[in-house]
Symmetry: C2
Subunit: 339 residues, 2 copies
DNA sequence: ATGAAAGCGCTAACAG
DNA sequence: CTGTTAGCGCTTTCAT
């Protein structure tokens, strides 16, 4: 692989001059620039990003980190796509790691990121007191949180209207005549779980429906947990007539249980889930869901991160994007199909 | 961040000695080692991976690349998990990029990888004549191909028995009484598409069923294409009684079409898909599918890559893993449910 | 067993 | 405008 030195020698200029051409410095004569660019092309020279990273001051390494909780969750896949797209367009490489909802692994990756010399990081913290992330914020590394914020910490964050989104979903179910609505939540430590629960409670209050604690179950945001907890709900003496599932994996687990029991959706049990997938319409019946703009979350977060890298002193911001209720057939007689 | 120099000064030894301790060199007295280790802990020292990478000889940068065609495809997500797991266990960071089936983007990422100084790369080439990847192989970088091989190139590769897997699926459909079996394939340039087609043809031959070209459609391995091509098949004058879909995204697209037309699965149309998802059972009806061991593919590929990095001259190998037919309800009266 | 020193490829400060 | 030079933090000789 050709190096700066090779290019300089071949072009008959100093090494620094080549660097200037590469970095689009003003102080290069058009003639020299042309000569150097020709040699660069001729030798197929490519900048060594590692050396560049080592030497460069903070904020110019052209590498950012992305730490996501669960790559098996299609929602995060959308976020990843948004991040990747925007990063690529701005000449940033993304070091992407999946900590699979394990705090220990998150810590490990946080260390790797730090020692890879990234310019900044986009992360969905394990919970709002995530020490690893908080330490990193304090260390001065530019960080944008997605999906979940940190408690009492100044940092940029991109979230969605979890509470409002859930409210709308429950409202729809109520309007369709449901009064016993089961709610399967994710881990209570994850802020989004609690926000969604608040939306549920608010909707019940709004329509004067008494809250029945036995209809609310907490799990761990995974398929298995959706499967088990829906079983528990359906086995109640007075089972719910409708189910709200707290994320997409829980939804899929619940569907498995419902189908296994031979129940009809929506006649025996209606279901609305948080998180829409582009293939939700391929489910039978097509799923009514609260759609999060995952791609947009990723894009916006990256935009904010690059802005903060460029100007570390700018005001911290919290961006809240709106969810959208996509009504299909799993919740009952509304014929609408928005998606 | 503390550096090697800081540690050396604090411990009162030379910089090189600290490096030796870090690299578990034999030539350090137990006493010195202990002293240094204590300081390392005290200062919370962490190796700077960038500097290490810049200085290190090839094969010791502790960073590998992973280039996948489509992160929205759950199959590749499984592969990613397998790679990540094995890499992490061996102190390798993974630079993971998704080229979204676009050759231009693949090329771009290939360049980034090269200039990030990775030790090796796992990649699913865009097609078997993928120039970018072939050039990289020739440059001497250790490379393992997954899912698809390269034509006429010496390189390690991990694939599955695409032809045999499809054969078994078609065989099942035939045994269930189907003779008009539609086949929706992915891009013909992708080797797996053609192998799966060969399995289809072999099964027809084996059971003396004439091949009807109008039942075979080529698309681009995506959801949209599954949707459209299944529409075409179902609109034929003599439509198929069963559908074989060439990958998971195509399957989901086909399901959408089938449900939209109000057809009953499997009575009106049976369906078997290539690729199983852990939530295939949550579909209604649960999907009969050819399951690829994605996680295992990723794990094995990484194992092979690290072996090649350690010994670049070892024999090249092609590992073919077996698929498994998971029979559920989408194909008809078999009551079996293996998944 | 340890110290000293070269240098990986690059950026940026300094000198002309 | 361009050349020269000092490191970034580390690994790896070469001495001792």
């Amino acid at each position: 692989m050709a190096s700066l030195k090779d290019v300089a020698k071949e072009a008959g200029v100093a090494l620094g001059t080549v660097s200037r051409v590469l970095n689009k410095s003003e102080n290069v004569s058009p003639k020299t620039r042309k000569k150097v660019e020709k040699v660069i092309k001729k030798l197929g020279y490519q900048r060594n990003r590692v050396a560049r990273r080592l030497r460069a001051k903070e904020g110019k390494t052209h590498m950012m980190g992305l730490l996501i909780p669960d790559i098996q969750n299609p929602f995060y896949v959308e976020v990843v796509r948004g991040v990747e797209e925007y990063a690529l367009a701005n000449d940033y490489a993304v070091l992407m790691c999946n900590f699979a909802q394990e705090e220990a692994r998150e810590k490990l990756y946080l260390n790797i990121m730090r020692s890879e010399g990234i310019d900044g990081l986009i992360v969905a913290p394990v919970h709002q007191w995530d020490k690893g992330v908080i330490d990193l914020v304090h260390s001065g590394l530019p960080i944008v949180c997605v999906d979940r914020g940190l408690s009492g910490i100044e940092a940029d964050v991109v979230v969605v209207s979890n509470s409002q989104g859930t409210f709308e979903a429950i409202e729809l179910l109520v309007q369709l005549g449901h009064e016993r609505i089961g709610f399967i939540a994710g881990k209570p430590q994850i802020p989004t779980s609690m926000e969604r629960l608040r939306g549920y409670e608010a909707a019940l209050r709004r329509y004067d429906i008494a809250k029945d604690e036995s209809l609310i179950k907490f799990g761990d945001s995974k398929h298995e947990s959706g499967k088990e907890l829906s079983k528990e709900l359906l086995s109640l003496e007075k089972p719910p007539t409708a189910l709200f599932t707290g994320n997409n994996l829980i939804t899929l687990g619940a569907l498995e249980t419902i189908h296994k029991r031979g129940l009809n959706i929506p006649d025996d049990i209606a279901i609305v889930g948080f998180d829409d997938m582009y293939w939700s319409i391929s489910l039978n019946p097509p799923l009514t869901a609260v759609s999060q703009p995952g791609y947009e979350i990723g894009r916006r977060a990256t935009e904010m991160l690059l802005q903060r890298i460029a100007d570390p002193r700018r005001e911290y911001a919290k961006v809240e994007l709106r969810t959208k209720l996509v009504v299909r057939q799993s919740c009952g007689s509304h014929q609408g199909s928005t998606g």
